[in-house]
């Protein structure tokens, strides 16, 4: 599914975050989920149990489908997090390891 901004990114906007190391421009006020969807990304994570691909669903913080890793902190809801310049965003693959004792199982 393609998401198109109703108001195109202003030319003067130079704010960037990084998704999987790729720079990505966003508008002031975007959430991380909004910025990624507008950039054509719809797979945000892979589920811990089956590895199925998932992306944002409710966009209001309750479904936990849009989980990503932000600046090294895993399981962050992209829809509830305002985009900030320089953020390092990564797909959440499987369950979070940063809260597991000794890193948990691979």
């Amino acid at each position: 599914m393609a998401f198109i901004r109703l108001d195109p990114l202003p030319c003067e906007s130079s704010a960037e975050l990084f998704f999987e190391d790729r720079p990505m421009r966003f508008a002031q006020g975007d959430t991380v989920a909004g910025a990624l969807l507008a950039a054509g990304i719809d797979t945000f994570r892979q589920t811990p149990v089956t590895g199925a691909e998932r992306g944002p669903w409710c966009l209001m913080g309750v479904c936990f489908e849009c989980l990503v890793s932000i600046d090294g902190v895993e399981n962050q809801r992209a829809c509830m997090t305002p985009a900030r310049p320089g953020m390092q965003v990564r797909r959440q693959t499987g369950s979070r390891h940063d809260a597991a004792a000794a890193g948990g199982d691979a």
Partner: protein
Amino acid sequence: MTSPADLVVIGGGLIGSALAWGAARAGADCLLLDEGDIAHRASRGNFGLVWLQGKGIDHPDYMHWSIRAGRRWPELARILGEETGIDVGWRGGGLHFCCSEAEREQRRALIARTRAAGGDIRIELLDRDALRQLVPGIGPEVAGASLSNLDGEVSPLFTLRALQQGFRAHGGRLLVNFTASRIGHDPRRGFVVQDAARREVLGRRLVIAAGLGANDLARQIGLEPRLMPERGQIVVTDRVAPFLHHPASAIRQTREGTVLLGSTHEDAGFSTGTDVDAISRLCRIGTRLFPALRNARLVRAWGALRIMSPDGLPIYDEASDFPGGFLVTCHSGVTLASLHALELGPALAQGHLGPAPQSLRSNRVGLHPA
């Protein structure tokens, strides 16, 4: 008029469902009454431990009964899986963490008393290094743990579902949204159970397994269990990569990765609410055991009500004035489910309490404080 069932079970929680499954599996025509979601539903707020260490330390019959339940749990899990395709997730190797040398000494004493009472269970005391081999990532304050193979965990929700599904597969009838309020008996029809709208069900024999609802029902057949609610709160985190492969007395991690921390013991009447003090206390216990959990997100907390008799022990009794009328209640519906399902349910269908200890009848001293 419908003909009486062999056995009517009042209460569709873990106790009633286990008894009904056992009775139906033994060939009895069994009717299971469930109040519906207005009930307190202790079975659905449960932490999910099959816990034996320390149980009945002052009451050996209860200790042996619990240990016997622990021994038969893997068999129940296997049978439920074969019958229903539902894996209830039994896993053994239960740990009780100790956060000081003093606590470790207390565990040592508990193990000695269990052995002295002839408890058929092997409990080992692990020091910190041995524990770290088993469970890496414990916090610096953790001094060790006691470990037993019989202590285990299951998913209480899958267990309940499997028992009810298996019960129906054995020909049992489940009647939901039926709030039993009156119990009568007449020689021709047997036990007559009515709800407030005077709908009736009939049974040659009857078991009350109605949790906190049992007081008013048991009184009608001459029994006084004096049950009281005790609240336990549980905290739940988001899914974390598997790090804890053992059930433990204050923390467990489900197969899906969710971590449960619990639980409290509170007198809060019939309130199933939560409060910030209890939640933060549980979180502190969890992060003391496993500091990495500080990163985990708290996604839910809930309160549920244990069903406590005055002396904390189960009650297995038959009404002396109404033979064939039984009461079964306990606060360990998960732990004891294997015996309720495999031994007690079939016995009740035959009209007796089977192997349930005599000392757990309701005429014992502990239920009638002076």
